[in-house]
């Protein structure tokens, strides 16, 4: 019977060519996740190379300015390579090496997962090829060069909408072409089982640390835990250890683009419906015949027409709430947190900051919000300048 279910979501909807490899991956992961040597090695890499634990930072100025709940940021932007993506890739690339693979492939949207994968691959001596929508290679040209500096080969994907979904398509096609020596290092809590589980487990270090840190600092659990959602990896990492803390409210912030009432949106939870795509059953932006819809967001990292199956499940059972945030709101938040706290946050993370700015003032002063700053915003500066009408190019 079918594996990897979150309620009705999840599963393994992939070509037969990949099924044996997916089973091997699952077996390898089930073994290594309990293997002391593997965990020692991974924990050393996370501590000595990625810079974990990441800070839980009290944003005193924003707290004062917004006049409500106490605001804490989980600073994944301070990790090596500048985002939460390193947590997952160190785990998966190490797993690839243990499985005897010589090569890793990965999709990337904003380039963060591509840069992280290229970094881990070069560190652990594996070949690396990255698939990136051509549109995104233009939006995030600097990250393309970064990946090349790190020794990866970057393939611009020219099919479909030339964005993240097409990069995933191309990665899956390439994996069916060469599975023997290659592991597909998926960047989010999506795709066929066991990927949503593997990525969630490796990212759950975020909430494991944050939960201990807030108990240490405040002596109690937070009232709200929030993060941005594209595929949903930083968000699942931020939620996971709080899921059983029933009084902690979980909020995922998805990219509404120009708004959920327009066709320029990527807010899957708000406008999508149940479907089967990219190896999983979950919610997708699609038409009445199941054609996957072109989606839009200013943020290349959230510009994806689906969402991970465990998020779909948390929504179904009402454990987490998902809210849409527009480009304009995210850009305002990007500027606000820079001026207020001196932090240039990724435009992806700024979607969560934007919603935080709405809810913090409505909460009491003794309440606590933890918001995940999934990445740093250096990569976005030129695009935000252009959004504001300043003719700036990298």
């Amino acid at each position: 019977m079918s594996k990897g279910r979150y309620g009705i979501h999840g599963g393994q909807y992939i070509p037969e060519t990949l099924m044996n490899e997916i089973e091997k991956l699952e077996k390898a992961y089930e073994f290594y996740k309990n293997d002391k040597d593997f965990n020692d090695e991974l924990n050393t890499l996370l501590a000595e190379y990625a810079g974990r634990p990441s800070l839980l930072y009290y944003a005193e100025k924003m707290t004062r300015d917004l006049g409500g709940a106490k605001i804490y940021f989980k600073r994944e932007d301070l990790n090596h390579t500048g985002s939460h993506k390193i947590n997952n890739v160190l785990g998966q690339v190490l797993l690839a090496k243990k499985m005897g693979k010589k090569r890793v492939i990965a999709e990337t949207g904003a380039g963060q997962h591509g840069v992280a994968t290229a970094t881990a691959a070069t560190l652990l001596d594996l070949e690396c090829e990255i698939y990136m929508g051509k549109e995104d290679t233009i939006r995030q040209a600097l990250n393309v060069y970064r990946m090349e500096l790190l020794g990866a080969k970057v393939h611009p994907v020219e099919s479909g909408t030339m964005t993240l979904k097409d990069a995933v398509n191309e990665c899956m096609r390439e994996w069916t072409n060469r599975v023997d020596d290659t592991l597909y290092v998926l960047g989010s809590v999506m795709g066929p089982h066991p990927f949503p589980m593997i990525v969630r487990d490796f990212q759950s270090v975020i909430s494991r640390e944050a939960r201990a840190q807030i108990l240490e600092k405040e002596g109690k659990l937070p009232d709200v835990v929030m993060a941005c959602v594209g595929g949903g990896s930083n968000c699942m990492g931020m939620f996971y250890e709080f899921i059983n803390d029933k009084d902690v409210k979980l909020i995922g912030c998805e990219a509404a683009g120009h708004g959920v009432d327009t066709d320029k949106t990527a807010a899957t939870m708000a406008v999508g419906s149940e479907g089967i795509f990219h190896g999983m059953k979950s919610y997708f932006c699609q038409d009445e015949y199941g054609q996957i819809a072109p989606v839009y967001s200013i943020s290349a990292g959230l510009d994806y027409p689906g969402v991970g199956p465990e998020h779909a499940y948390l929504k179904d059972i009402g454990r987490a709430q998902y809210v849409p945030v527009t480009d304009e709101e995210a850009v305002n938040a990007f500027e606000y947190i820079a001026r207020e706290e001196g932090i240039i946050a990724a435009i992806e993370s700024s979607h969560a900051v934007a919603h935080l700015m709405k809810i913090a003032p409505t909460m009491d002063k003794d309440q606590i919000i933890i918001c995940c700053l999934s990445g740093r915003g250096d990569k976005d500066v030129a695009a935000i300048a252009r959004y504001r009408g300043i003719d700036l190019h990298e």
Binding site: M19, S159, Y289, G290
Partner: protein
């Protein structure tokens, strides 16, 4: 016995594929009839999908052309219903899981039966997942065609035991598309299939020459050609009918 098994059993067959609605559904009807006239034993019709992850560039582009020309699942079934009044050739859809799921499994298979579809290939629904629709397909008499890949190994027998209609043996790693050389030991895969079932096995992926058809129909019960035919449609568009007839005639002559 199903119309598919009936058509393929006890002889060597050529199976052709076109993406439905490329360049238009009226042309799809004509192309199917041309393939039948040239000696094809069965025709596969691709249901156009926005993101066909098992296809190479040739069929990806055909999907884009078909969708741009306005092909939908409903219009496709209407076309098949008309086509069915003109031919008894077995027709098999190739559709991605989401095309069925979003349409509704019950409604999809009911329309397959009503229009005269005999079977369906779902490239992104492996053995482990097909349980969610196999009973419904059975109720409407539609065969779900199983795929076996070069990597299937121990899975071959599990899949073959459960197979209906015919078994699609994927000759090569990767996606659909013309290949100059096929390295997989397909003969041993077919042998493993034979040990557990008499359901006909046909080999596809990468076949485009008469010599390949000759070789693979000597190993298995049939050879499947897709991308090479879709290429003809890409080149000649609405004038492709006679070219498809000539190409398929040539391929069929490769059957010993």
């Amino acid at each position: 016995m199903s119309r598919i098994k009936n058509a393929l059993q006890g002889k060597k067959s050529f199976i052709g594929f076109v993406t439905a609605g490329d360049p238009g559904l009226d042309k799809t009807e004509e192309f199917v009839l041309e393939m039948e006239r040239a000696g094809a034993a069965l025709v596969e019709l691709g249901v156009p999908f926005s993101d066909p992850i098992a296809e190479g560039p040739v069929i990806q582009e055909a999907n884009i052309r078909a969708l741009a020309a306005g092909c939908t699942t409903d219009k496709l079934f209407d076309m098949v219903k008309t086509l069915r009044t003109k031919t008894q050739i077995p027709l098999v859809l190739l559709a991605y899981a989401n095309s069925l799921f979003k349409y509704g499994y019950e409604k999809f298979f009911a329309r397959c039966q009503d229009s005269g579809i005999d079977g369906i290939i779902i490239p992104d629904m492996p053995f482990e997942e097909k349980g969610e629709l196999s009973d419904i397909a059975d109720n409407y008499g539609i065969d779900i065609i199983s795929l076996i890949a070069p990597t299937s190994e121990k899975r071959i027998k599990t899949i073959a035991k459960d197979a209906k209609g015919f078994i699609y043996v994927v000759s090569s790693m990767g996606v659909t598309g013309v290949r100059s050389e096929i390295k997989t030991d397909v003969a041993s895969i077919v042998e493993a299939i034979r040990e557990v079932t008499d359901v006909p096995a046909a080999i596809g992926f990468g076949i485009s020459t008469k010599e390949q058809v000759s070789k693979y129909t000597s190993i298995a019960d049939g050879a499947i050609v897709g991308s090479a035919i879709v290429k003809i449609v890409a080149e000649y568009g609405s004038e492709a009918g006679s070219h498809i007839y000539n190409f398929v005639s040539e391929m069929v002559s490769g059957i010993e």
